[in-house]
């Protein structure tokens, strides 16, 4: 079957139709697991300390601690209008502090988003992101789901440990990507998504967002009570789902240490994770449930993604 597609003035003949499944190429599965005992990371573990089943089948795993390893961090920053004023300064400072904690062999990528996404520097030495932080400006609506989707795309399938750290203070108001589409991508992704959320509205927040065209005339406005795709999910709900799916965590940017402490906590926690890799014994397409357990450490908990889509 072939379907027509709209062009400027003609209907193009569509390409041959591929019905059905997406196929994700999964040869080696990688999981970054956080092991904690009473909230403190457990160090010194090896493959002998874990058992892992993939759809119920025990797997032979390799375990490597991430402490000291080269990592990638994709920083996704909400720079919509609600972040203007002091909050933008805090965001710059927190991001700069995060970059300061990265080693020179690590790589960093910055995605700033309002309704528009601004990508870069990408896969760069951490220090090279600093000048970009200084130029961030807060304006416009919030395309949180689009930005997070772009980060997932950027980070997935790189063959190295990647932390995607998302900051947002509001609900999505302008994304094209739907929540279910972002979640579907997250199920195939091997990145860890951490989120830092804040809920306080600033004095500078006018309660709405105006987007102007080049002549300074308004094009559209989004009030906090409405959303582009009319999602009920606030940023925190979306990010909670996403972090749970990828084995990440949500940090409270309003807590004592503020944004900087939340950013640093996310990175510090990521560095204490273990990279667990294995080649699954089953190549069956579809969802693979992964069960990772620790042997002989009572009270310790393992925090990792619960599976992957093949």
């Amino acid at each position: 079957m072939s379907r027509p597609i709209v062009a400027v003035s003609i209907v193009l003949a569509a390409a041959s139709t591929v019905a059905g499944q997406f196929r994700a190429a999964v040869d080696v599965v990688r999981i970054e697991a956080l092991v904690a005992d009473n909230g403190r990371p457990v160090a010194g573990l090896s493959a002998a300390d874990f058992t892992l089943t993939d759809d119920g089948a025990r797997q032979a795993i390799t375990v490597r601690p991430l402490a000291g390893a080269e990592i990638d961090v994709v920083v996704v920053l909400d720079t919509s209008e609600s972040v203007s004023g002091a909050r933008l300064e805090h965001l710059r400072a927190a991001s700069a502090a995060l970059l300061g904690r990265l080693a020179s062999h690590d790589r960093a990528t910055l995605i700033a988003f309002s309704h528009q996404l601004a990508f870069g520097p990408a896969d760069a030495a951490p220090e090279t992101l600093r000048p970009r932080l200084a130029t961030l400006a807060a304006h416009g609506a919030t395309s949180l789901i689009d930005a997070t989707t772009a980060a997932l795309v950027w980070g997935t399938g790189r063959g190295r440990p990647i932390l995607v750290l998302v900051f947002s203070d509001g609900r999505d108001t302008a994304s094209w990507t739907r929540v279910d589409q972002a979640f579907a991508l997250a199920r195939t992704s091997d990145v860890v998504v951490d989120a830092v959320v804040t809920s306080q509205r600033t004095m500078a927040d006018p309660g709405q967002t105006t987007i102007e065209n080049r002549r300074g005339r308004p094009v559209f406005r989004v009030s906090p009570e409405t959303s582009a795709q009319r999602r009920r999910l606030a940023a925190q709900d979306f990010l909670s789902g996403l972090t749970a799916m990828t084995g990440g965590q949500v940090f409270d940017g309003d807590a004592g240490g503020g944004l900087a402490a939340a950013f640093e906590a996310s990175l510090a926690q990521f560095r204490t994770r273990y990279e667990i890799t294995y080649t699954p014994t089953s190549a069956q397409p579809g969802w693979h449930a992964v069960d990772l357990r620790l042997k002989g450490h009572r009270g310790a908990t393992v925090h990792a993604r619960r599976g992957y889509e093949r």
Binding site: I5, T17, G120, G157, E225
Partner: protein, 386 residues
């Protein structure tokens, strides 16, 4: 539009009534490049009553030429010269006042400036009627001047859509419908209004009002209620398309509503129809973008890719198709190609890269995207003071 409105402007420069007041000064100040200053002057007046505006625009001006009022029978006793002066004054002031109050309305904060919004809306609704009236009744004003009223109606509706002011939009649409004005813009505004009522947030608010404490029952009711309201919005566009089958905006908006209702084939039919109706690049872009969504929901992934590609061709600077393509590539395991598809989002873009803009953002605000060009068209009609 420019051509038709331009007819009105082609009039010999005639002297107008020389009367000043802070309000009339603000109106006279308004024009291309002086919008913000004029709006600030108007806001500084802190008007509270629409009657104040018409005392300035009508009563003071007619009184200045010795007439007891502005009705045709009251003006008839004035000299021909005075009548011409009044007509010239209105031709100069009414379009400016219209544009000024539209801009002042859009400058309002819909979460705080309720009184100002109501004032500007009341003024605008009355101005539209008044302009129609003088175009019909005044022998020194050409009947074409009524086109300014038509443009005023559109601008008012678009401004309210921009503000997402459902109550204001309801008031305006009902006013025009009651006056038997059923043009395409009013009917599109009716559709936009029904869409506003069908927003999940609006539905949730109405459910909260019913104090449903049972979460399960509440969610079920919300879903049912949302579907019912989306169907009502869809019917508004369907009815419009029965009378005006070539209105592309209605096809596009109806297609999105059909997708919300899960009716992908109906959505597809409307979007394919757009192709046969000579869409402009914006409309072709949106139709292709929405088709990509249709095809993805139908699991026709190759078609979704191609539709995103067509969208990119139509609006090269838009970010949305790139994100869609990147996501689909990543889902298919082509990670490097997926990352390449994000190239348009990079800060370090080529010097000749297309300007970053995206009609998807404008689609969110119904017809509000037409506001800037609509204001510019009205400004084209402004008559200068001699």
């Amino acid at each position: 539009m420019l051509v038709t409105l331009g007819i009105v402007a082609v009039l010999a420069a005639q002297p107008s009534v020389a009367i000043r007041s802070p309000y009339l000064d603000a109106v006279r100040l308004y024009g291309p490049g002086a919008e913000r200053e004029a709006i600030a002057s108007l806001q500084a007046l802190r008007l509270r009553d629409a009657d104040q505006v018409f005392e300035e625009l009508d009563d003071k001006i007619c009184a200045a030429v010795g007439a007891r009022g502005c009705l045709p029978r009251q003006l008839v006793n004035a000299s021909r010269d005075s009548q011409r002066k009044v007509a010239a004054t209105w031709r100069r002031l009414y379009p400016r006042a219209l544009a000024l109050h539209v801009e002042a309305l859009t400058a309002c904060d819909p979460t705080a400036d309720f009184a100002a919004m109501r004032l500007h809306l009341t003024v605008l609704l009355r101005l539209v009627v008044r302009i129609d009236q003088v175009a019909r009744d005044h022998r020194d004003i050409a009947p074409e001047f009524a086109r300014v009223a038509t443009q005023g109606r559109r601008l008012t509706l678009w401004a309210l859509q921009y503000l997402r002011d459902a109550k204001g939009l309801a008031a305006a649409v009902e006013t025009f419908e009651t006056a038997k004005i059923q043009d395409v813009d009013v009917r599109l505004a009716r559709g936009a209004l029904e869409e506003l009522w069908a927003l999940p947030d609006a539905v949730a608010q109405s459910a909260r009002a019913r104090d449903l404490s049972d979460t399960f029952a509440r969610d079920k009711l919300l879903a049912q209620e949302e579907r019912r309201l989306v169907q009502i919005a869809a019917r508004a566009y369907e009815a419009l398309l029965v009378d005006h089958p070539a209105v592309l905006e209605a096809h596009l908006r109806l297609a999105r509503l059909e997708l919300r209702l899960g009716r992908t084939e109906r959505a597809e039919a409307h979007l394919v129809r757009v192709a046969g109706l000579k869409p402009d690049t914006r409309q072709a872009y949106l139709a292709a973008l929405f088709l990509a969504d249709v095809y993805e929901r139908q699991r026709l992934i190759a078609n979704a890719f191609e539709a995103y590609g067509v969208a990119q061709q139509n609006w090269p600077g838009a970010q949305t198709p790139g994100i869609g393509i990147a996501r689909l590539r990543a889902l298919s395991g082509a990670h490097q190609e997926a990352r390449t598809a994000l190239a348009g989002l990079h800060l370090e873009r080529a010097a000749d890269a297309p300007e970053r803009s995206d009609p998807w953002m404008g689609f969110i605000g119904a017809q509000a995207w037409r506001l800037p060009s609509g204001i510019a068209a009205l400004q084209e009609t402004f008559e200068a003071e001699p």
